[in-house]
Structure formats: C-alpha cells, structure tokens
C-alpha cells in the first residue's frame, strides 16, 4: 500500500470517527457539559470534509490558515473549559490556579514569540513555510498549557473525572502530534508523506481515545481500600522508636 493510499484511508477513518464522536456527544447530552469540545469536534468534522474535497485545489492554501486559527482557538478554549471543570470543586485553589495559569500563558507566549522570531523574515513566496512557523508557535502555547494543566493537577492531587481526563489526554496527543509534525517537516520536507501518515494516525488515535473515554462509565470512587490495623500500629511503633532513639 502506498503512502498516499494510507493517508487517504486514515483521513476517511478520522472523518468517520469524528462523526461518531459528535453523535455520542449529542445523543448522551454531553455537549451541554463540554460546549467548547463539541464545537471543536464539529469544526474539525467540517474542516476535514472541506479539505478532503479541496485537496490539491489552489483554494486549499488560502483557507488553511483561517481553518487552523479557528481550530487552535477552539483547542485553547477546551483547555480553559477543562481547567474550570477541574477547579469547580476546589474554590480554595481557584485564585492561585488562575494566577499560575496567567504566568504560564505569559511564559508560553514568550516562547511562541521566540519561535516566530527565529523564522523571521518570512518568505511569503513560500506561504506554506510561513504558515508552519506560525502554527508551530501556536501549538507551543497549546501543548504548554496542557502540560501545565497536568502538572498542576498532579501537584495539588486534584482528581480528574473520566470524561475530562479523556478529553485532555486526547487533545494532548493531538497537540503534541501537530507540534512535532510542523516542527520536523520544516527540516525534512522530503519526508512530508511519512510525517502526514504519522500525524493522521495520531488524529485517529485521539478520536478513538475521546470516544472510549466518553462511552465508558465513570468508575465509582471508593474509600473502602483501608490499611490493616496491624500495619498502622507497626508504622506508629517504628516512628516512635525512631523519634526516641
């Protein structure tokens, strides 16, 4: 099977998976809980359909930056949506979290600015390369914010509910794949076919992950796993011994 056929197959598969995911979001009424995520999936579905038929057409390049800008903005909105869901139960953390979040955004904007700066001056005769540089900067922001979200939640021991975790993880995989693809392709233009293939595999994987996390019911939280009383006593004895040594 040629790379082009593989790309075509994976592209169609992503369309089918995206359509199924949208159906799950609507049928299960989850679009009310995750409006930005639903908007992202719907936009991605529309974008894939349009670009599938526009492949090779000159209009493709002029539409691409607009479509990708909307996609990136929706991706950032999902990060904020998850962030709010995660903190909805922890008002004590909200102020600190928002402060750290703003700090992370500023740092990442600086890094994104540096990414654009090293590619200056843009050669607009090669629109594709200029677009990739801009996209690389935007993806740095997206990956960085997702990274911040995971590190912050693990530092404060916040519990991820099934759906939020699945959405964040899927978006993370997708954002990393896009960031890697746009960064690597600038240095390996000859391998663009393989990069596209790997990228489409990551997209399909994200859709599968999202669908499975949204379909599988949440595990019931149980506090029933408690230590043995003798273990507790042994621990206390050991500590007391150590203190009085």
């Amino acid at each position: 099977m040629s790379i082009a056929a593989g790309i075509n197959g994976l592209w169609l598969a992503s369309l089918a998976l995206d359509g199924f995911l949208l159906a799950v979001l609507i049928v299960k009424g989850m679009w009310k809980t995750f409006p930005w995520f639903t908007a992202y999936c719907a936009w991605d579905f529309l974008e894939t359909v349009v670009f599938y038929f526009l492949a090779g057409h000159p209009g493709y390049l002029s539409l691409y930056p607009i479509a990708e800008s909307i996609s990136i903005l929706l991706g950032l909105a999902i990060v904020y949506e998850i962030f709010n869901h995660l903190l909805s139960m922890h008002s004590a953390l909200r102020r600190l979290a928002k402060m750290v979040f703003r700090g992370a955004v500023i740092l990442l904007l600086l890094l994104a600015g540096a990414v654009v700066y090293i590619h200056l001056p843009f050669n607009f005769a090669d629109v594709r390369m200029a677009l990739m540089s801009m996209e690389e900067a935007a993806r740095v922001l997206e990956v960085g914010l997702l990274l911040f979200l995971f590190i912050f939640s693990s530092t404060f021991g916040l519990h991820w509910r099934q759906h939020e975790f699945g959405i964040a993880l899927g978006l993370g995989i997708l954002a990393v794949a896009k960031l890697t693809a746009v960064t690597v392709v600038q240095y390996a233009l000859s391998a663009v076919g393989m990069i596209n293939l790997a990228f489409l595999i990551a997209i399909d994987l994200s859709f599968l992950l999202w669908t499975s996390y949204l379909l599988v019911p949440e595990r019931v939280v149980s506090g029933a796993v408690v230590p043995d009383r003798t273990q507790l006593e042994q621990w206390n004895e050991a500590i007391m011994e150590l203190i009085h040594q």
């Binding site: 997702l146 993880l169 408690v226 150590l242």
Partner: protein, 171 residues
C-alpha cells in the same frame, strides 16, 4: 536552540501524559495512609529541636535533624496523600441530597485543599532545612489543621456511611 526546546517540550508532554494516565489508574486503588498526629507534632516541636541543638555537638545535631526531617517528610507526604484522597471522596459527597452532609463536604474539600497546599510548602521548607540544618523554617500549623480535617471527615462519615465512613475511621 529554540527548535530543541520545542522538541523537548513535545517529548516532556508525552512523558507527563503517560505518567498522568498511569497515576490516574493507580489513584482508584489509593489507600488512606495512617498518620499519628501526636508523633507529627513531636517531630515539628521546635523546643525539642532547640534543646538538642544546645546539648549536642553540631555534627551530631545535624545528623539527627536530617534523620528527623526524613521522617517528617514521610509524614507530610502521607498527610498530602490523605488530603488528596479526602478531596476526591468529599467531592463526590458534595452532590448529595442531604444538605447538612453536602455543606460539611464543602468544608472538608476546602480544608483538604488548603492542607494539600500547606504540605507542598512544608515539603519545600523541609528540603531547605535538610540542606541547611541550622535553619528553622517548618510551620507548626500542619498537625492541628490535619486534626481538624480528621474531625470534619468523621462528622461527614457519620452522616454518609457508605462512601466516607472507611476513610473517616482510618485517616
């Protein structure tokens, strides 16, 4: 250079996502770890430390203090882990129909969140003290706060037996 940073960011993200997925699956089996609040208070007692500092030669005091810090760190780690578990359990209780249980659950979540933050600060300060044993940075408020959290979890356990009760007994 910037390209290297971007690649490192992508690789770091993959590692963090993997660790998060692994820790989430482990979280569901996370047990409540026993903490002796009295022992924690003793460990954080500054008078005791001053007494030792005055009586012992510095090298011996330094060795002893570092050992004490190691034990305190493991206790603080347990408090942090329990606070995280309590945050998770009480978050699910907040949605209950019983308004009294829901109100206590809100308080418990807030207290647990604050304790978790204090644990992070305490661990940072203990790390600095470990490097420089002559310093005294550790706050002494963690033990009484944890005791207060225990009492609230017990109250919540009395109201909502199925979910919180085992944690209330062993925290």
């Amino acid at each position: 250079m910037i390209t290297m940073i971007v690649i490192a960011l992508a690789l770091g993200a993959v590692v963090v996502f993997y660790l998060a997925a692994r820790s989430r699956s482990r979280q569901s089996h996370q047990p409540i770890l026993p903490v002796d609040v009295q022992a924690l208070r003793t460990l954080m007692d500054r008078d005791d430390e001053l007494f030792l500092q005055e009586r012992l030669p510095y090298s011996r005091f330094r060795r002893l203090k570092r050992r004490r810090i190691r034990v305190t760190m493991s206790y603080v780690g347990r408090v942090a882990s329990n606070a995280s578990l309590v945050m998770r359990l009480s978050a699910s209780t907040r949605l209950m129909a019983d308004p009294e249980a829901a109100a206590i659950a809100v308080q418990v979540t807030e207290m647990a969140t604050q304790i978790r933050m204090q644990c992070l600060v305490a661990l940072g300060k203990l790390a600095v003290e470990f490097a420089m044993p002559s310093l005294q940075l550790t706050p002494a408020v963690l033990a009484p706060r944890y005791q207060a959290l225990r009492e609230q979890v017990l109250r919540l356990g009395a109201l909502e037996m199925q979910n919180i009760a085992p944690a209330a007994v062993s925290i």
